[in-house]
Symmetry: C2
DNA sequence: GTCTATAGCGCGATAGAC
DNA sequence: GTCTATCGCGCTATAGAC
């Protein structure tokens, strides 16, 4: 037991800081965030934040890794299920993302924003591209479409379900309320699998 | 002639500052940018930046409006051409975006990042959703698919062509070089129109 | 118009009492 | 562990000479 039992008996203060950090970093990005705002929101003092996490950057990295795992880990079980067809996997992936992203609409723009701003700083440790490329899903795509790059389908599927959350500020006015946005997303749960099936049938 | 001829005889200094501002703001975002960096890159002094643009924020807004027009304006002529079919429009839109985004790969993440960070600050003046919703392209979509929301197709088409540029840091390692990325995008010039045609034929 | 110098403030981080 | 107070730096913006 190398890590003590910090995972089980989580320090309440540490968790309060983390929870506030998640909110503020997500909303304002790393550069736009002031540690004072995190301290205030968590109801503790600025000094305590540095006592627990040493620096703004170290605190950010904890949040960033969490968020990346959330964004890419969600579909991991679906990608590698040997007992489902290609079409079933697409349906599952789309629905898993729809569920998770409706609850966490800012997650994709947060992760992709920070990855683009700081290309190298967070490359270590977590490799989403391997998770995708080595998946059973990609293997099935190759079998069905041996002459095409499976990445092309992958990009399209992820783009169709994730992009609306990133481009929300643009479509917001065309859509109206938050509720209307959710209706659009919920419609896509059925539309995208139907579309992808059609894409997989083209010659 | 209300605007003088500034459009023609552009002040060299002003343009030098603007050009540097485009580079730095795009790379680091508004919050991550220091006006000192812009001054240094443009080869002028920090004071001169404020002399021409009054403040960091005002300079940013100039750049932001430019970039938004570039991102959403490219397809404007294609969207409203009364003499092309739905399929032809899709092909044109995809190719116009591929051309422009290969030359400006950071443009989408820049605009969407800043719009998401500052939802209200840049809403005034430019309304991409109207450009899209009121277009002849959407009218044609409605005719072909009267029972479906044309926005659903629009989101998918834009997502398929724009998303890879936003998610580049993720796929980068799976793809390899910059050249390989461009090959993927160039393949999509033919793939996406073919796929969208199939989508439009589904029942 | 362009520069140097600096005002004035807000930031991340720390010292040190409790 | 938690606080108050403060350091020291770097930022945007401006004053003022040329």
């Amino acid at each position: 037991m190398a890590k003590k039992d910090k995972d089980i008996i989580t320090s309440s203060t540490e968790e309060k800081i983390l929870e506030a950090a998640r909110v503020v970093f997500t909303k304002k990005g790393f550069a736009g965030t002031r540690t004072r705002d995190i301290a205030e929101l968590s109801g503790i003092n600025l000094a305590l934040l540095n006592y627990y996490f040493r620096s703004k950057e170290k605190l950010f990295k904890v949040v960033m890794i969490e968020k990346m795992q959330k964004l890419f880990g969600v579909i991991s079980p679906a990608l590698n299920d040997a007992n489902t067809t290609l079409e079933q996997k697409v349906t599952l992936i789309v629905n898993l993302y729809a569920d998770m992203l409706i609850k966490n609409p800012d997650l994709p723009i947060f992760v992709l924003r920070e990855l683009n701003l700081n290309s190298e700083a967070f490359g270590s440790g977590f490799h989403p591209h391997k998770m995708l490329s080595d998946s059973f899903f990609v293997k099935q795509l190759k079998e069905k479409r041996p002459d095409e790059n499976p990445l092309q389908f992958l990009i399209s599927i992820l783009g169709m379900i994730i992009f609306p959350f990133i481009a929300k500020p643009i479509f917001k006015k065309a859509i109206g309320s938050e509720k209307a946005f959710e209706i659009i997303i919920n419609e896509r749960r059925a539309l995208i699998p139907k579309w992808v099936s059609a894409m997989l049938r083209t010659k």
